[in-house]
């Protein structure tokens, strides 16, 4: 299933083109293309340059800090990390079932999160490509252009995102990096005043979500043949799934299917993830490449996120989103839809599902209940998994007898999509760029394919030019702060700074 463009046979004879940084994504990555004299593409790679070391530096911290500490991995979907860590912490405090109030307040928080993140991605980041065309002028191809040319669409996007952020504020105390979930439950219910405030606008939000799906459906079907082909790669899919096969974002079993839609595994307990999935390391990216263990690294890579979820589920349990899902699935002719740009369509179906689910929860008396917390006996392992906006998110912690973190493993959504994104840009490079003089609009097509995955890289990169073997970081006052050297074998060595 993998294309042949991952590694060129003779890279030293080829010219290098770089897209750096990839823009209108959250965080930064860069793409390198290696071309021969006739502009045939021999290698295409998406490099992720982020490395933080969370798994190491949270060692020794008390587990109850995790939901507020680890969410600082990501300011776009902090709630996803907050809740995945909280789900792991529930197990660490010996709790297997939350109170109805805690469960529903967390779900409300999560629906708010997915709603705002999907709105941000579609309206603020990707809609310029879809509304103006991939070859629109660079200076115009952004949210400011949308505000100027399509003020109603821009305003709806801004207000959809705002509403999701307000749901988070109500359940978490603040919009970004709040505190709502705690081990064993939540720290507050939704008050009557907060419920009334959110209820006042939800009808409008559902309607705008319906309109957004309609907009994307029309864009896709207007040139279906092209959109079905662009960036399409046959991929396995992975997602959580409800016990009844319904779309599920907060809690369920793991379902994996192959490119034809045949089951690889289904309703697997996510606490067994380490036996189902493994991770490959490639020297050219800090992001690992996960694969389904039973299939091996070559054939076992998979897709997660909206496209995987909407393909994977048997139904959606809200009526408007289910109607849209049926229409969406029809374009696959009985097979999973594999088109990169169909991800936007699936994402907006999920946005509608979240809006309808919020509406339903706002009518549920349980979100205002007073029974918030369950207590149990401490355990040493907690594994929390949920569907973040960009896909399946794994948090795994082991603690010692004092409740201090001993070992941690995090597989974030975008990591799960690593190979799928790389395969998608290789398909675009081979189909649309190969043999052409590379212009800005052509290179933007690579980014259009990446954007469809809504990658969250949350770290910066910039052209480095020739790699220095030794770097001195000199402060504003001329003092050497940091010095690092790269040996011939690729070993990295820190050197004590002179006078530092």
């Amino acid at each position: 299933m993998a294309s042949g463009l991952e590694t060129a046979a003779h890279p030293e004879q080829l010219k290098r083109i770089v897209i750096d940084p990839v823009t209108r994504v959250e965080g930064h990555g860069k793409v390198t293309l290696l071309l021969d004299a006739d502009n045939h593409v021999h290698q295409a790679r998406l490099h992720i340059v982020e490395f933080r070391g969370f798994e190491k530096f949270i060692q020794g911290r008390p587990f109850w800090e995790l939901p507020v500490l680890v969410q600082r991995l990501c300011g776009i979907c902090p709630v996803s990390h907050h809740l995945a860590a909280a789900k792991a912490c529930d197990q660490l405090v010996g709790v297997d079932r939350l109170t109805p109030t805690a469960d529903k307040v967390r779900r409300l928080m999560h629906f708010g999160q997915v709603l705002q993140s999907h709105a941000l991605h579609f309206f603020h980041l990707s809609s310029p490509d879809l509304l103006f065309g991939f070859d629109d002028a660079v200076a115009h191809r952004n949210i400011v252009g949308v505000i100027q040319d399509h003020p109603d669409i821009a305003r709806q996007g801004v207000l959809l995102r705002k509403y999701g952020q307000e749901v988070i504020r109500v359940t978490c105390g603040k919009r970004i990096h709040g505190t709502g979930a705690i081990p064993g439950g939540v720290n507050k219910p939704v008050s009557d005043a907060e419920r009334a405030m959110l209820r006042a606008d939800i009808g409008q939000i559902v309607q705008w979500a319906v309109d957004a799906v309609g907009l994307m459906r029309r864009i896709f079907t207007t040139d279906a043949a092209y959109h079905l082909q662009f960036g399409a790669v046959d991929a396995n899919t992975l997602s959580l799934i409800g016990t009844d096969g319904a779309l599920e974002l907060y809690h369920g079993g793991l379902r994996a299917r192959d490119a034809k839609g045949e089951a690889i595994f289904d309703q697997a307990d996510y606490r067994d993830y380490a036996s189902l999935l493994r991770e490959q390391i490639k020297p050219w990216s800090y992001m690992k490449f996960p694969f389904i263990a039973a299939l091996g690294p070559e054939a076992g890579w998979y897709r997660v996120g909206p496209l995987a979820r909407v393909n994977n589920c048997d139904r959606i349990d809200t009526p408007l989103a289910e109607r849209e899902r049926i229409e969406f699935s029809a374009i696959g002719n009985g097979r999973p839809v594999q088109a990169a740009l169909a991800t936007h369509w699936a994402r907006l179906i999920e946005l509608l599902y979240c809006a309808e689910s919020i509406e339903r929860l706002l009518d549920d008396p349980d979100i205002g209940g007073s029974d918030l917390l369950v207590e149990g006996a401490q355990r040493d392992t907690g594994i929390g998994v949920l569907e973040a906006p960009r896909g399946t998110l794994f948090h795994h912690y082991e603690v010692d007898g004092d409740g201090l973190v001993r070992k941690a493993n995090l597989i974030v959504s975008t990591t799960n999509n690593n190979q799928a994104m790389n395969e998608s840009i290789r398909q675009v490079a081979a189909t649309y760029l190969d043999g052409h003089t590379l212009t800005e609009p052509l290179l933007n097509q690579i980014e259009v394919a990446i954007r469809a995955f809504d990658p969250c890289l949350s770290c910066a990169t910039h052209a480095l030019g020739k790699m220095p073997l030794q770097i001195d970081l000199v402060g504003a006052d001329g003092r050497v702060l940091d010095c690092i050297r790269k040996g011939a074998s690729g070993d990295i060595e820190a050197i004590p700074a002179v006078g530092g």
Binding site: G53, I147, H177, T179, R278, M467, A476, C483, I492
Partner: protein, 188 residues
């Protein structure tokens, strides 16, 4: 202020660039949390290089907002480029101001952090630390940005509240001394 706009006419819009270094993008999200005021904002400012536009190289700007601390060689290069091109440079949020959560790795050797992820990590198929020339060299410590370049303003908070960002931008545009009310100054 910038003297002419894309249409060639005089333009008094403030030209703004932003970047996220070793941050989580939360400060950029908090900027978007000004909500519908963004429609007002784009009447007053022009965006240069930011993650919201496809401008890849920074031009001369009035204002640069830097989110995140300095963790790798590319962060250093982006930061120095911003300092060269921006009249005013702002440490935008907790990580830029003092390194923040990513600086928690400073208590460990970089090698220990890399080994935990790529050698000793759960489920690692082929242990090995990534080392291709295409990926940036990591610094042994994460630094706040003022240790690398001169900084004109520090906007605290994880993230700075949207109202604090709005106060900052509107007072700057009005040419007023920037005074943030106490309620807008907090980490959490």
């Amino acid at each position: 202020m910038d003297s002419s706009g894309s249409d060639g006419r005089p333009n008094s819009k403030l030209k703004v660039a932003t970047a996220s270094l070793a941050g989580c993008f939360g400060c950029h999200m908090s900027l978007l949390d000004i909500d519908e005021r963004i429609i007002e904002l784009v009447e007053l400012v022009r965006l240069d290089r930011t993650p919201l536009t496809d401008i890849k190289t920074i031009g001369d700007c009035d204002l640069g907002l830097i989110e995140g601390g300095v963790a790798n060689a590319e962060n250093v290069e982006v930061l120095r480029n911003f300092r060269r091109h921006c009249k005013l440079l702002v440490a935008f949020g907790a990580c830029a101001v003092n390194g923040g959560i990513p600086a928690m790795r400073n208590q460990f050797a970089l090698r220990e952090c890399l080994e935990e992820s790529y050698i000793d990590g759960i489920g690692v198929h082929n242990p090995g630390i990534p080392n291709d020339p295409e990926i940036p060299l990591l610094l042994s410590q994460v630094h706040p940005i003022h240790e690398v370049v001169r900084v004109d303003y520090f906007l605290p908070g994880c993230p700075p509240p949207a109202d604090a960002i709005w106060t900052f931008l509107t007072e700057l545009l009005a040419g007023e001394p920037i005074r943030l009310p106490y309620t807008q100054l907090h980490y959490d």
